[in-house]
Amino acid sequence: MKRDDLIEYSLDAHHDEEKGKEIRKKIYKVTILLTIVTIIEVVLGAAIKQDAAIWPIIKWTFLILTILKAGYIVMVFMHLGDERKWLRYVILVPYFIFILYLIFIALWEATAIKSVLVYFS
């Protein structure tokens, strides 16, 4: 019996040599980009001490570069950018809502706990 409950999405993901060349070109581009970003991060991390005045800017630069790297990995390497729109949102939207809330609440609480610890130490 032929099963009709399986969605064989890969069947429409076949492509020919021409398209393959194009895709590979994109992959190599992203590789170079990720490498450059990593090099920048390491150079900044090694060169600038955490007590430098410019550190807060560097910290945010790290965070932005990390998100950038993560974005390229998810969207290009994991093909989430090529998935159907609803799948993309089902995955990303709940995740971000939850994680942002968790970050907010954790840092907020940590600040409160720290003030208590400092008070008693």
């Binding site: 069947l11 590979r24 992959i27 993560a70 390497f77 970050i103």
Partner: protein, 315 residues
């Protein structure tokens, strides 16, 4: 389904990293700094901040690229291409796991100087080049060694063990058999103390935390040779570590260990799928969807590392 598994796994890692951030944020003593903690390279010793972990990151990114090339080859039904790129991915994975083993070994083993509690109660980590220990000359006989014996084996280990146990007083080391010996050691170079916790004299404040030169040397060896136990801590375990607060090492072991386990299982899954590719299972099936699914998992492992790298090593 793979995506939903990955979302839940991402939540696990997100939770772990956020709890790390929580602990770091509410910690009232100085947290370890990546470039001060991780500055070694295999065969080359210390003084290379972040280079090793950058290499690890690069290896993982490249193995992610080879994986995506395998998936692309799968779309063209190019079995040879898939095999080639998957083998490259597996090799990259093994390299990463091996690198992490080295990193852990180094983290557990610690530096040659350790973390020291100075005479005034302040705590400092130590940077610089440790002068080699040449030998111990026995000055007072014990059960095993006679007076005048020169001990040449296992020097560093004996030295660190004795220093931590408080068995070195004024340059005279008490060996495990009860004999006493003087230490012949080359001079240290560029010994620098970085004060992490303030004492009554040395402060951990931004301007005053670095002590250099002869003063640093005197402070360090006065404390090391004080004859008091637990003045110095070498390396890391689950009870104490030389880098900073206890929780730091625990988070390090748990998060990088959990990630390393993911990489390891990723390698195993890749090998299984690669065998399937070689056997032609997916070719007969008409599509390489399985390669695509393992690819997703493998990229996810890379994705997690990007965040671990930022939060443990850069910030």
């Amino acid at each position: 389904m793979m995506w939903f598994f990955l979302v839940s796994d991402a939540l696990t890692f997100g939770g772990l990293l956020i709890s790390y951030g929580f602990t770091r944020h509410d910690c009232i003593v100085a947290w370890p700094i990546g470039e001060e903690t991780f500055n070694s390279l295999p065969f080359l010793g210390h003084g290379y901040p972040l280079l090793y972990v950058a290499l690890m990151t690069f290896i993982l990114i490249i193995s992610s690229v080879t994986m995506v090339l395998a998936v692309e080859a799968g779309h063209r039904m190019d079995r040879k291409g898939v095999t080639k790129w998957m083998i490259a991915t597996i090799i990259g994975g093994f390299f990463f796991v091996g690198s992490q083993a080295w990193e852990w070994y180094h983290f557990i083993h610690g530096s040659e100087f350790g973390k020291i509690e100075l005479a005034d109660g302040s705590v400092a980590i130590v940077k610089g080049h440790f002068g080699e220990i040449k030998n111990f000359t026995v000055t007072e006989a014990g059960h095993e060694h006679k007076k005048g014996d020169i001990v040449k084996e296992d020097l560093m280990h004996t030295f660190q063990h004795a220093a931590a146990a408080g068995d070195i007083t004024n340059g005279i080391i008490t060996l495990h058999d009860g004999s006493k010996a003087s230490i012949t050691k080359e001079k240290d170079h560029d010994l620098t103390l970085i004060v992490k916790k303030s004492g009554s004299v040395n402060k951990a404040s931004k301007e005053k935390r670095v002590i250099k030169g002869a003063k640093a040397e005197k402070l360090y060896y006065d404390a090391l040779y004080s004859g008091e136990a637990n003045r110095v801590i070498y390396g890391a375990n689950l009870k104490q570590n030389e880098y900073g607060p206890q929780q730091y090492a625990q988070f390090f072991f748990f998060i990088t260990g959990f990630h390393g386990f993911h990489v390891f299982s990723g390698v195993v899954i890749n090998i299984i799928i690669c065998l399937g590719v070689v056997a032609g299972t997916y070719h007969k099936r008409g599509h390489y969807e399985m390669v695509e699914k393992t690819g997703l998992y493998w990229h996810f492992v890379d994705l997690v590392w990007v965040f671990v790298f930022t939060f443990f090593y850069l910030l």
